[in-house]
């Protein structure tokens, strides 16, 4: 059975299929600017370093986008990251720091992050609180727990942990394997039935409910996955900083939201791209390094970063508009 030929050419536009294209453009421009400001910043080593630093934000942004797809938001991702960070670091120490201890601790960390996400889902979906305020509050709770687990920053992790994260396998830096894994994860996730349901819920919650979708379960699942990926982000942070810090992730929360938006995902839900969010995280990373390489004096760096993020957001909007026309 086939449809008349006149019906077939009308497909999704390129931009509808790949909403991250504007972000990709901005990323290219920023790479160019970085290269001009400091040619060395385009060296293999520098790129590896940049990836090492911003891998956690990439995971966090991808985590955030899942929740945003269903038209919710999670302002506790940073706090979950911090909590998992200290739980893993303390657990490794308590278990003696062997290879088994490291692996087990990482697994427990991912579990803790997932549970934190389920708790968020319960509070937002089950108790029907506004996600923006409810996750703000749960974020404070998670920070409180993190401070109870490890009151002050410190406590180094075994060498094996950060050596692996910063090291190479077959001459390719470990972090690039992680990036590839993240890419594979995204590739698989966008092909699940779940993501279609999730997007439908974000598009029109009532319509999804009337269509017989288990809206509550779908939304809680998004929060759980978000918590899980935030925990993976925490593992990246540990690899990068090699120690525990109960507030390390808290400033990253709104960066993750910014990365999601930079990546072409609408906060209103129902459409967007996880790959875009990962690119959005890299854009933020490149902005920060550009501001540094451009020789902005330290007291003006925050100002310049803020302006640059604004410019990137505006550029994204303009490109989107141009393409949609």
């Amino acid at each position: 059975m086939s449809l008349p030929s006149h019906a077939m050419p009308h497909q999704r536009s390129v931009f509808e299929r790949f909403p991250f294209i504007p972000a990709l453009g901005i990323l290219a421009v920023l790479l160019l600017l970085n290269g001009i400001a400091e040619p060395n910043s385009m060296s293999f080593g520098a790129i590896t370093g940049l990836t090492k630093t911003y891998l956690a934000l990439m995971f966090l942004a991808v985590a955030q986008s899942l929740v945003v797809f269903s038209s919710d938001i999670d302002l506790s991702v940073g706090a979950i990251l911090s909590l998992v960070n200290v739980v893993v670091v303390v657990l490794i120490e308590r278990l003696g720091g062997g290879a088994d201890a490291v692996l087990l601790s990482c697994l427990v960390g991912v579990l803790v992050g997932t549970l934190a996400g389920v708790f968020n889902g319960f509070v937002v979906v089950g108790l029907r609180l506004q996600p923006i305020v409810a996750t703000f509050a749960t974020g404070i709770v998670f920070t409180g727990l993190a401070l109870w687990v490890l009151p002050v920053a410190g406590m180094p992790v075994p060498q094996s942990f950060w050596r692996t994260y910063g090291g190479r396998i077959c001459d390719i830096p470990f972090v690039f394997y992680v990036v590839a894994a993240l890419g594979l994860l995204i590739w698989l996730t966008v092909r699940t039935k779940y993501i279609i349901q999730l997007m439908a819920v974000g598009d029109n919650r009532l319509a999804a409910y009337q269509s017989g979708l288990p809206v509550t379960r779908i939304r809680i699942k998004a929060f759980a996955l978000c918590g899980m990926l935030s925990a993976v982000a925490a593992l990246c942070i540990i690899g990068d900083t090699a120690s525990g810090d109960p507030v390390v992730g808290n400033a990253m929360t709104l960066y993750s939201v910014a990365a999601v938006v930079l990546g072409g995902t609408a906060l209103s839900g129902g459409s967007g791209s996880m790959l875009g969010s990962a690119i959005g995280a890299l854009i933020i990373g490149l902005i920060n390094s550009f501001v540094f390489f451009a020789g902005v004096s330290s007291e003006w760096q925050n100002f310049a970063q803020g302006v640059a993020v604004l410019v990137a957001l505006m550029a994204g909007v303009l490109i989107t508009r141009r393409i949609s026309k």
């Binding site: 059975m1 449809l3 008349p4 006149h6 019906a7 077939m8 050419p9 009308h10 497909q11 999704r12 509808e16 698989l188 092909r191 699940t192 039935k193 779940y194 279609i196 349901q197 997007m199 439908a200 598009d203 029109n204 009532l206 319509a207 999804a208 409910y209 009337q210 269509s211 017989g212 979708l213 288990p214 129902g270 459409s271």
Partner: protein, 502 residues
């Protein structure tokens, strides 16, 4: 044995009875038409079957066994699928994804298979192949489709659930004739396959074309079920409205019989087109109350909002008095002498949390370009306007929320009376107001009309509309289909016009 049987099903919201007694028996292989006037409870009845409203009392039987339908999901598991009038589509998802959405969770496997989904959707698209129109495609996001195409997708989605019981709530309102033909063919096939169909439509010709039996709901109670072949449109309308075709007109309002020698036209609208409004033209004279009637959501409110400049877009000619209205914004409309009072006070009327005084003066302030004002001199003027409507309040400085709904609405109306407009647009103004306040409000509106104001009135209550309008324009699908004057202003004629094919 009936496939679905409802007995004594009842739903109340607080003191309001949405459905007093719903009885229905749905046989296999029949198209069962549900008819009733506005607010009679037909949508409540279908929502109960759809699982989105839980009944307070009553028995639902499916294939002979008693069931409860706590959610749309449960309804789906019982083999019930619903076409929602307001559509249940995800705008960013593709046609295929929308059609397959309800079944997605039931199919096994973690990943979607695009080829499989397309194959699953195609049999339901195929019957409409010849009428899909320009721009339709399997992979096109539903939000990019035209209204009629979206409605077709909703139909396909309903069919794709392969249900035994289908509820269609106004499935053809946006479709053209050829598309309706296709749909009717699909319904006939479902009927032949022994499926049961509940059909709600405002097109009488369709009802007689496809329907087998009709159940009529009046004032929240199912009053009669009859075989359509043995009945006539007139008989149905009589049962529906409880009135005779040639019965007495609505109680004549004193002002309704007045015939001014040379009526001065206060508002002249030609070819008004706006979202939900399709080429509407009319005139209103000074001293006249023109009612907008018909089934709910046929463009009455949309036309009033468009006139006030609150619609996204608008074309057509609007003359207030002798001046032509330019600029599509409430501000421009207000400056040209229009006023708008909405039944949705929270959205369009009341300024939450502010004082009664602040809620009374904004229009006066706008029209007089007030920058600095003393509460005392303004208060005196506000008080006058409020007293005209016999508004009950403690002081002008109490917050608006301290008043009852009826008194809040009076404050909103008196806002306009401080600087009287030429034309007043009333968009279901008495929604949620007690009876005494309603009567009071209409007494004042009568006085205002007598003093030369022109008034446009839409009311969701038919009795209120018929009693208070000098003329009634009946809306159907965004167009005006008939004008009721004099003795024709009865519920019978109103529904006769509303159900006539546009």
């Amino acid at each position: 044995m009936p496939r679905l049987r409802l007995e004594g099903v009842c739903k109340r919201y607080g003191a309001t009875v949405a459905l007093g007694r719903g009885d229905l028996s749905l046989m296999p292989g029949e198209v069962h038409v549900l008819m009733g006037s506005n607010g009679s409870g037909k949508s409540t009845l279908s929502k109960i079957i759809a699982g989105s409203v839980r009944p307070d009392e009553g028995v639902i039987e499916c294939d002979g066994s008693i069931v409860t339908i706590p959610s749309p999901r449960a309804a789906r598991d019982l083999g019930i699928a619903v076409f929602y009038q307001e559509l249940s589509l995800a705008a960013h998802r593709s046609v295929v994804e929308n059609i397959c959405l309800p079944g997605l969770g039931h199919a096994r496997g973690l990943f979607r298979n695009r080829a499989e989904m397309t194959a699953a959707a195609e049999p339901f698209i195929e019957p409409f192949e010849s009428v899909l129109g320009e721009g339709f495609g399997l992979d096109v996001p539903v939000g990019r489709l035209r209204a009629d195409q979206r409605q077709l997708v909703e139909i396909m989605k309903t069919l794709a659930a392969r249900p035994d019981i289908l509820i269609f709530d106004e499935p053809t309102s946006a479709l053209d004739r050829a598309q309706v033909e296709c749909f009717m063919a699909v319904l006939r096939k479902l009927k032949a396959d022994g499926k049961s169909i509940i059909f709600i439509s405002h097109r009488m010709d369709e009802i007689f074309e496809i329907g087998d039996r009709v159940t009529i709901i009046r004032d929240g109670e199912t009053v009669r079920t009859s075989v359509l072949a043995d009945t006539t449109m007139e008989e149905i309308l009589r049962t529906m409205t409880g009135e005779e075709a040639t019965g007495p007109a609505a109680p004549a309002v004193s002002a309704a019989v007045k015939t001014p020698q040379r009526p001065t036209v206060k508002l002249k609208v030609s070819n008004l087109v706006a979202p939900g409004v399709n080429n509407v033209s009319f005139e209103v004279a000074a001293g006249e109350i023109l009612g907008f009637g018909g089934l709910h959501g046929q463009g009455q409110s949309a036309a009033l909002r468009a006139l006030f400049g609150a619609a996204q877009s608008r074309s057509g000619d609007i003359e207030v008095g002798t001046t032509r209205l330019t600029g599509n914004s409430p501000r421009a409309s207000i400056r040209n002498g229009l006023a708008y009072v909405s039944g949705d006070r929270a959205r369009d009327g009341v300024i939450e949390g502010r004082s009664i005084l602040e809620n009374t003066v904004p229009i006066y302030a706008l029209k007089n370009h007030l920058f600095v004002a003393s509460p005392r001199s303004l208060g005196a003027k506000a008080q006058q306007a409020l007293e005209q409507l016999q508004t009950k309040y403690q002081t002008l400085f109490h917050p608006i929320n301290s008043l009852s709904g009826g008194n809040q609405q009076k404050v909103v109306v008196s806002r306009w009376l401080m600087a009287p407009p030429e034309v007043m647009l009333l968009d279901d103004p008495t929604k949620g107001i007690d009876i005494a306040s309603k009567a009071e409000l209409f007494r004042v509106l009568r006085e205002l009309a007598a003093a030369g104001m022109a008034i446009l009135l839409y009311s969701s209550e038919d009795a209120e509309l018929l009693e208070n309008s000098d003329r009634v324009l009946v809306f159907n699908n965004g167009r005006t289909v008939r004008e009721l004057v004099g003795d024709e202003r009865t519920r019978y004629h109103l529904y006769h016009a509303a159900y006539e094919a546009a």
